[in-house]
């Protein structure tokens, strides 16, 4: 089956810093989503981005489907950005999740 990798596995930032999270996938996919799991476990949709670039406030994402990767950019990070970031790719109506990047933003 399809393999989804995320890097880095862990990231520690000082508040105000910028960061880039990467998601690589091994085969063609129908769709790709980025999620943020907050410390209480809730998974929050960030981007639905099968291709191209989208921006939402301090966050933006780019997916290059032909090269099988997606990037999530976080600018001017805040402590509330802490948590785990997952990418998930859709294959045949199922979503396959990467292992996540655990982000800690220090005040």
């Amino acid at each position: 089956g399809i393999q989804v990798e995320q890097s880095p596995p862990d990231l520690i930032l000082q508040e105000g810093a910028n960061s880039t999270l990467r998601c690589n996938f091994s085969d063609s996919v129908n769709n790709l989503q980025w999620f943020h799991q907050n410390p209480w476990g809730q998974l929050i949709n960030l981007f639905y981005i099968p291709s191209g670039t989208k921006q939402n406030g301090r966050l933006s994402a780019t997916t290059v489907a032909t090269e099988r990767y997606s990037l999530l950019y976080i600018s001017s990070s805040q402590t509330t950005d802490s948590g785990v970031y997952f990418c998930a790719v859709e294959v045949s109506q199922n979503f396959v999740f990467g292992p996540g990047t655990r982000l800690s933003v220090l005040p």
Partner: protein, 111 residues
């Protein structure tokens, strides 16, 4: 707008006891429904998915089962819980070709 409900939020059960977790979706018709499990500090594991009433696909062989008695209701069950069943259980929905949305989750501890 669409809403997804899960209950209970937390559950502590003894080994060997039965389990029933319920998930309901509002505001959409004929959604795809999913059950995931997340072990502490780990990623999400797809357990079951359903594309319609009575249609269940299992991704991982285990002592859990799922049922979809109504279009927007998805139930996760077990006849006898194991210690290894502890985890965070998440229900999700999507429509074909669209985004996936998650419920608040149930934190299950088996003692």
């Amino acid at each position: 707008s669409q809403t997804i409900h899960q209950w209970p939020a937390t559950l502590v059960q003894p080994v060997g006891s039965p389990l029933s977790l319920e998930c309901t979706v509002e505001g959409t018709s004929n959604p795809n429904l999913y059950w995931y499990r997340q072990a502490a500090g780990r990623g999400l594991q797809l357990l079951f998915y359903s594309v319609g009433i009575g249609q269940i696909s299992s991704e991982v062989p285990q002592n859990l089962s799922a049922s979809r008695p109504q279009d927007r209701q998805f139930i996760l069950s077990s006849k006898k819980l194991l210690l290894s069943d502890s985890g965070f259980y998440l229900c999700a929905w999507s429509v074909w070709g669209g985004q996936e949305f998650f419920g608040p989750g149930t934190r299950l501890t088996v003692l």
